[in-house]
Each structure stands twice: as C-alpha cells, then as structure tokens.
Amino acid sequence: MSEEDDIILSELDDEELVQQMFDDLYDGLKEEIEEAVNILLERGWQPYDILTKALVGGMTIVGADFRDGILFVPEVLLAANAMKGGMFILKPLLAETGAPRVGKMVIGTVKGDIHDIGKNLVSMMMEGAGFEVVDLGINNAVEAYLEALENEKPDILGMSALLTTTMPYMKVVIDTLVEQGLRDDYIVLVGGAPLNEEFGKAIGADAYCRDAAVAVETAKDLVGRKHNQMNG
C-alpha cells in the first residue's frame, strides 16, 4: 500500500484538506474530491468557499501547468472530471445559498463542429468563477445562438470551434448580430485550437481566449468594464 493510500481525508484539518484537494484534482481523483467536498460541507463550509478556495484554486494550478507544458490534455481532462464531480454536489447548494453571480454567459460550439472539450472546460471554469452558464452544446446554427440570446439575455456570448473549416462560422453569427443591431448588447468571446488573436479581431469578436483560464479572466474584466460603463 502506498503512502498516498494511507491518507484519511476526514482526519486532515481544513488547511491540509484543501491542500490535499489541490493534489487530488491535479491527479484527477474524482471520488476523493467528492469525499472532500462532502467533508467540508459537513464542517460548515459555504458551498461558494469550497468552490472557489478548493476546486477553482486547484484547477488554477492545473491550468497554469498545462499552459507551461508540464501537464497535457489527458491530465487536464481527468482533473476537470474530478472537479465536475465536486461541482455536481455543490451546484444545487450554490443556488440555494445565493452565491454571488458575476454575470451570465451563453456558450456553444458552432455549426458543423462536434468538438466540445475546450468549451466544456470553459463552461466549468466560468461557473467556478461565479458566472451562470447556459451551454448550448455542439453544432449550433446562428438561429440557435440568437434564440438563446433572446431568451437568456446574457452578458457574454461564447463560441467555440476546433476545425479550420468551421471557425469562419463565428463571423456569420457576429455579422448577423450586427445586421440585427444586437452586436453591442453582448460581449463576444471566441476560442478553439486553430483560432488566434488576429482571427478574433478580424471577425469582430471582443476577444480571443486561448484557454479556459484566459476566458475567465477576460470575461471578468470585460463584464466589469461593461457594468462600469452602465453605472458611469
């Protein structure tokens, strides 16, 4: 039996447990994360604090190491899966306890594209950062985006594409927003492996986000500016 197996999560104090959660997230240990979330809840922690201090804190380390080339996609996916387990427990409680809401985002992969790994990571990290996220899934035509914008009235529209052949569809959506006089109502963020900043600018997006962590920071920044403008 390894030393790791000897750790009994319930015997750790809060600080040690959060550190252990960072390690377990890093190692993609879903069951351990679920157990630790339940322990913290039993100890009276607020769901929002567990989310931000333990889960998001741990995923931030994962994100940084991914960006630095220390971790790779499989490890990030395992970590995300572990975080998802924790989020599943916390989500209904967050709604009940009135956790602060930073803003709202509608997100989806564009028409003709079925890839959703990046989009799902962004959705999860945005939720972790206090955004309400309405995820439209994959293969979204412009009509689906427009309908969701109309119904949900979000601050942000997020679009994702993995293929060179599908990424131009983002421009179709943005051009339609312009035509209908809706473009300035939303912050438009785009992302996906073949995209770059130049492409984001060329199609008229507010920002290109190279990964989930950048998407969260950009979203917070732009929503903050938008609210300041409205209040100013």
Binding site: G28, F72, V73, P74, E75, L77, L78, N81, G112, D113, I114, H115, D116, I117, I138, N139, L163, T164, T165, T166, M167, A193, P194, L195, N196, F199
Partner: protein, 212 residues
C-alpha cells in the same frame, strides 16, 4: 531511395538526400510514402522531397515556423519550393506564412480532405461532421498519433470525452493493403465507432503535384 520507418517520419521527418531536382517538395512526414510512390510512378525526377516530422500535427501552431525555417534553409538550392501541407489546423497561419515566403501550398483543410478531393470532402462534411478520419499513415501510426497522445492507453475512461460526439470512423485508403484495412477496422473498434472504408487513392495530391 530507402524510406525511413513510420516512427522516424513521425518524430524526425525525412532529410533531403540525393538532391537533383529543380523543385523541392517540403512535406509533412505523414505524406512521405505517398509522395515517393507518386514520384516513382510518374518519373517526376525534377522534384526532390524533404519532410518535417509528422508529429508537428500534435502542435499545429508550430508548423508555420518550421516551414519558414525549412524554406529558408533550402531556398538557394532550388528554382521553386512547394509546401505539401494543407492548412492542418493552423487556422490560416500556414497560408499566411507561405504567402510571405512566396511559396505555394496545397489547398484544403487537411490531408484527409485532399485525399478525398477537396470539393467532394467539403460536400460530404456538411452532412458527416461527426466523422473521425484515418489515412494509411494515420492507421499505421494510430498509437503514436491518437491512442497515446490522448492518454487512452493509460485512461480508457477518457474515450467518451474525446469521441462521445463522433458517429463513425472513415478509413481513407491510399493503397490496397488488407493488413492495413484490418488495422483500421481494429482502430474503429478500439474507439467504439462504426467503421467505414473509402478507397481514395492519392486524390488531389496527385493532381496538385503533376502540375508542378
């Protein structure tokens, strides 16, 4: 010329050897066998071939700079250099780099598009965008390009996250090889995807190169 192994083509590419042609084909290692087969069949002695490592595809943003470096290295020795890459996930950056360098490249999004024929592929993908493609090379190098980099050898539970939205695997064969066909079928089984075989031959690769 003797061809390096597929794993060499994946990791290190193909060095230029026995240079005698006027035109240099600067290609992806994944196309080395196909290009050499076409060269031999058509006696295209005016072309030489050098290949970058095929595994650059795992980091497509590195392809434009690698092409730029290779073009600079060889440009004095040739009348012309032709880049045998499609966009390959560079989001238009390779096209931009080639324009800056004044060299031509293959049209289309990926090799599996020009093998099928770009026009036909564009039509097919409007309906079949849930398809995962394998070529001869990708079938031979399935473990190096798909299984291991995606971590499926260590974490088979990730299969659904990667391939849950895919509806089938299409093997586009360039050659008639029963062993490769069987391997492609096995790849589809490992990914738990329905299998389809389409023999494309060399598609647009041949028509593009024969114009040079």
């Amino acid at each position: 010329m003797s061809l390096p192994s597929d794993s060499q083509l994946t990791d290190t590419g193909l060095d230029l050897t026995g240079a005698t042609g006027r035109i240099l084909l600067l290609a992806c290692g994944a196309l080395a066998r196909e290009i050499l087969a076409l060269k031999e069949a058509n006696a295209w002695d005016h072309m030489d071939l050098t290949c970058l490592p095929a595994n650059l595809h795992l980091y497509p943003d590195k392809i434009p700079d690698a092409v730029r470096e290779a073009v600079s290295k060889h440009r004095q020795e040739y009348d012309d250099i032709f880049v045998v890459y499609a966009d390959c996930g560079t989001g238009g950056m390779l096209q931009k780099t080639c324009q800056e360098l004044g060299v031509e490249m293959v049209e289309g999004p990926h090799c599996y598009s020009f093998f099928e024929g770009n026009e036909a592929f564009a039509k097919v993908t409007e309906e079949e965008f849930g398809t995962f493609y394998l070529t001869d090379f990708l079938t031979r190098q399935f473990d190096a390009f798909v299984w291991k980099p995606m971590g499926l050898d260590r974490h088979p539970e990730l299969r659904d996250m990667y391939f849950g939205n895919y509806t089938k695997l299409v093997y586009q064969s360039q050659t008639h090889d029963p062993a490769l066909l069987a391997k492609a079928r096995d790849c589809a089984e490992r990914l738990k995807l329905p299998f389809e075989h389409r023999h494309t031959g060399y598609g647009d690769l041949k028509t593009v190169l024969e114009k040079l």
